[in-house]
């Protein structure tokens, strides 16, 4: 390997040094890492909040906090996890870092806008913090901000939704950058069916970000207008519609679920083939299912509202559409499993995490069927069953995909390896703790324990205690995983350019990559998951 300096040693634009090289950078890789820092902070904060919530619930009555504090905490946990972790995590960190590389180019289409998006993200986060202390106590509406509660509420809800508004802008601009980069910056020789699946999933996500986010932004503006001017859009006494808010909110927030999960699916579609040394099974089906999820997922929002009092006709239509959107996700799961058939599988931490993803995401998807069917949803709607279901999807799915992506791309981003042993211990503890944490909640929900409950009826105590116990095991696992990754900075075991035997372009360049990514024009393969070369190479090495 020639001694090309990595992007850590060369700034873009050139000539910047020290902290300026980071804060004024146009380099998509540095921005990816800057997002990583910010997202990491928010994740740890919201995880601690979540653990405190479950500690409170471990026994009946007051355990460590009062009900007002509890309500604020679950609101914060939700707002931070959704808007500052799950939505931005994979696209903003790994998308920024790897989308241009996988497309064979040197940066995103609008590098300065990319920097601006990061500032919006930081600014939105700052606003969220200010909103905590600027009013009469912490906001306590839940992350859904349902009216009329959010309009009547005396807390500083206006500022909190403004924070979410700003974060939405950041998300939209990132989406815009990805779509334009995908079309305009892609290596000329790379056809649509030669694009890696991670990039495809980001492309599908980006369209949802661009098209759905404005809806929530406008909705938040309406909430602020209601609070200050009492227009009456949602107030039947003034001719408004009391459940209009819910429609508007979910018109974004359901597609947002796919903003959260699609990139995670993209990560898994990269990891499974690489460690199986075998082409992804059904490449085209996965591409099409990503696009199908993006489109169909935008038409199912009112399945959050079966009990809201909307008409039974709407209930019928939305339930039917919901079942149809389940199909593309099922196709993906089958394709991942089939990819491993007759592969040459090497167990590594990213693969283990990806397998855990498949299991946990399947549970999330299958419990979703209970919620999609109307009769059963009526019983478990707004209970702990729902809480458990979406944590299986958002955390067991996107969260584990995030962990898998961290372990998969860590050597490329930082040029160092981590300890496998500690990574395995962390991953297994996280997964076991996860099941102990969320399976009791599924049962609690079916027994009828509502969500957002500070206290509960005596029959629910055992389940809540078990869930709290599982929560501690899970957090211990996550801490071990993160500490292991952070320790790799001290151990500095250098990583080769291609530690895994990958075929996509990021594995063809040095670890960490040079500032313009490619020293010479990359070779574009006819099919991005052709492992013949990798297999031949490893056979030669064996001889």
């Amino acid at each position: 390997m020639t001694a090309t300096p990595s992007f850590y040693h060369q700034s873009a634009p050139p000539g910047l040094t020290g902290i300026k090289a980071w804060l004024l950078t146009h380099d998509h890789k540095r921005l990816g890492l800057m997002y990583l820092g910010a997202v990491f902070f928010w994740f740890v904060l919201a995880m601690i909040l979540g653990l405190l919530l479950r500690t409170e619930l471990m026994s009946q009555g007051r355990t460590i906090m009062g009900s007002g504090m509890y309500n604020s905490m679950f609101t914060l946990h939700g707002v931070i996890m959704i808007f500052l972790f799950v939505i931005p995590a994979i696209p903003a960190i790994f998308g920024n870092f790897f989308l241009p590389i996988q497309l064979g180019t040197d940066d995103v289409f609008f590098p300065r806008l990319n920097l601006f998006s990061w500032y919006l993200f930081m600014f939105g986060g700052l606003f969220a913090i200010i909103s905590l202390f600027a009013g009469d106590g912490f906001p306590d509406t839940g992350w859904t901000f349902y009216v009329p509660f959010s309009v009547q509420n005396s807390k500083n809800v206006g500022l909190t939704v403004t924070a979410a508004f700003i974060l939405g802008m950041s998300s939209m601009l990132t989406g815009l950058n990805f779509v334009t980069t995908f079309h305009r910056m892609r290596d000329k020789r790379m056809g649509l069916m030669q694009i890696p699946l991670f990039t495809w999933s980001l492309y599908a996500t980006a369209w949802v970000q661009i098209l759905a986010t404005p809806v929530i932004s406008i909705t938040f503006v309406l909430v602020v207008l209601e609070r200050f001017l009492s227009i009456g859009l949602f107030d039947p006494a003034k001719g408004g519609d009391p459940i209009l808010y819910q429609h508007l909110f979910w018109m974004y927030s359901h597609p947002a679920v796919y903003i959260m999960i699609l990139p995670g699916m993209g990560v898994i579609s990269e990891i499974i083939p690489v460690f199986s040394r075998k082409s992804i099974f059904g490449y085209k089906a996965i591409v099409w299912s990503s696009m199908a999820i993006a489109i169909a997922g935008s038409l199912v929002w009112a399945h959050h509202m079966y009990t809201s009092g909307m008409s039974d006709v709407s209930v019928f239509v939305f339930s039917l559409l919901t079942f149809l959107v389940a199909i593309p996700s099922a196709v993906k799961v089958f394709s991942w499993v089939a990819t491993m058939y007759k592969g040459s599988i090497e167990m590594t931490p990213p693969l283990l995490l990806a397998l855990m993803f498949i299991y946990l995401f399947s549970v999330g998807g299958l419990t979703g069927l209970v919620l999609g069917a109307v009769g059963t949803d009526i019983h478990v709607h707004d209970t702990h069953f729902v809480v458990s279901h979406f944590h299986f999807v958002m955390f067991g799915g996107t969260g584990f995909a995030f962990f898998a992506a961290l372990h998969y791309w860590w050597p490329k981003m930082f040029g160092i390896m981590y300890s496998f042993k500690a990574a395995y211990v962390g991953a297994v503890l996280t997964c076991v703790g996860f099941l102990f944490h969320y399976v009791p909640m599924l049962i609690l929900g079916m027994q009828g324990m509502p969500r957002r409950y500070y206290d509960y009826l005596p029959q629910y105590e055992t389940g809540n205690f078990l869930a709290g116990f599982g929560g501690y095991v899970m957090c211990l696992g996550i801490v071990i995983m993160f500490v292991n990754l952070l320790r790799s900075f001290r151990q500095k075991v250098p990583a080769p350019a291609d530690p895994w035997g990958g075929t996509t372009l990021e594995w063809k360049i040095p670890s960490p990559p040079p500032v313009h990514n490619f020293i010479e024009k990359p070779q574009i393969m006819d099919f991005p998951y052709d492992f013949k070369g990798v297999v031949e190479q490893s056979q030669q090495n064996d001889r």
Binding site: Q152, S308, K342, L366
Partner: protein
């Protein structure tokens, strides 16, 4: 089949199929990882797709999903079709209590008393923010919305006490917004109804 049985059947149907699918996916996945590990299978096959298989695993899940949709919808119809002879009770939700109002204007706070062997229709409305009326034992739940009346019904088939909870987050004492359903004999009910409102 009562509406409760209908919903429970839908639960068993969906959860049963889900368990089988989850078990299948997991077993096959683990089997592949063990069987095709690199030390035993150093040279992978190059299989990229199989249209027949892909069509099968698209079409069959679609049919399963549609059957789940149908059974879910069917059980929901049971929850929405109120018998003609049902007894009407008005329910008024407020921060943080349930008020039940009977035909003779008797009001009862956080205690819903009904006679056994009777269909009960609850006409629900909120006076302030959103609430949701949840009676787990009878699998019913519906939001209480200000300015938009909603309803739910159940058949009081067994004497006993059941929990009612609010399931739409409504503020600081949301989790304390619980009430009791008491199903009593017809005679007891009439005696109770005749007492003064408290």
């Amino acid at each position: 089949m009562t509406p409760v049985q209908g919903v429970d059947l839908a639960f068993w149907y969906i959860l049963g199929i889900s368990m089988v699918l989850l078990f299948g996916i997991t077993v096959v996945m683990v089997y592949f990882v063990v069987k095709y590990r690199r030390s035993r299978n150093p040279v992978p096959s190059d299989i990229r797709d199989n249209y027949k298989l892909e069509i099968i695993w698209t079409v069959i899940p679609t049919l399963i999903a549609l059957s789940m949709f149908y059974i879910g919808w069917h059980s929901y119809m049971g929850l929405r079709t109120v018998p003609k002879d049902a007894m009407n009770i008005e329910v008024s939700a407020q921060m943080f209590a349930w008020i039940f109002i009977y035909d003779n204007d008797k009001e009862s706070e956080n205690e819903l008393v009904v006679p056994v062997n009777k269909a009960i229709k609850l006409n629900i409305e909120s006076v302030d923010v959103l609430h949701s009326f949840f009676l787990p034992a009878f699998r019913i739940k519906v939001d209480a919305v200000k300015g938009m009346p909603t309803y739910a019904w159940f058949f009081a088939d067994k004497v006993g006490e059941y929990d009612i909870q609010c399931t739409e987050y409504c503020g600081v004492n949301h989790s304390a917004m619980v009430a009791k359903l008491k199903i009593v004999s017809q005679a007891e009910f009439e005696a109770w109804l005749a007492t003064e409102s408290d």
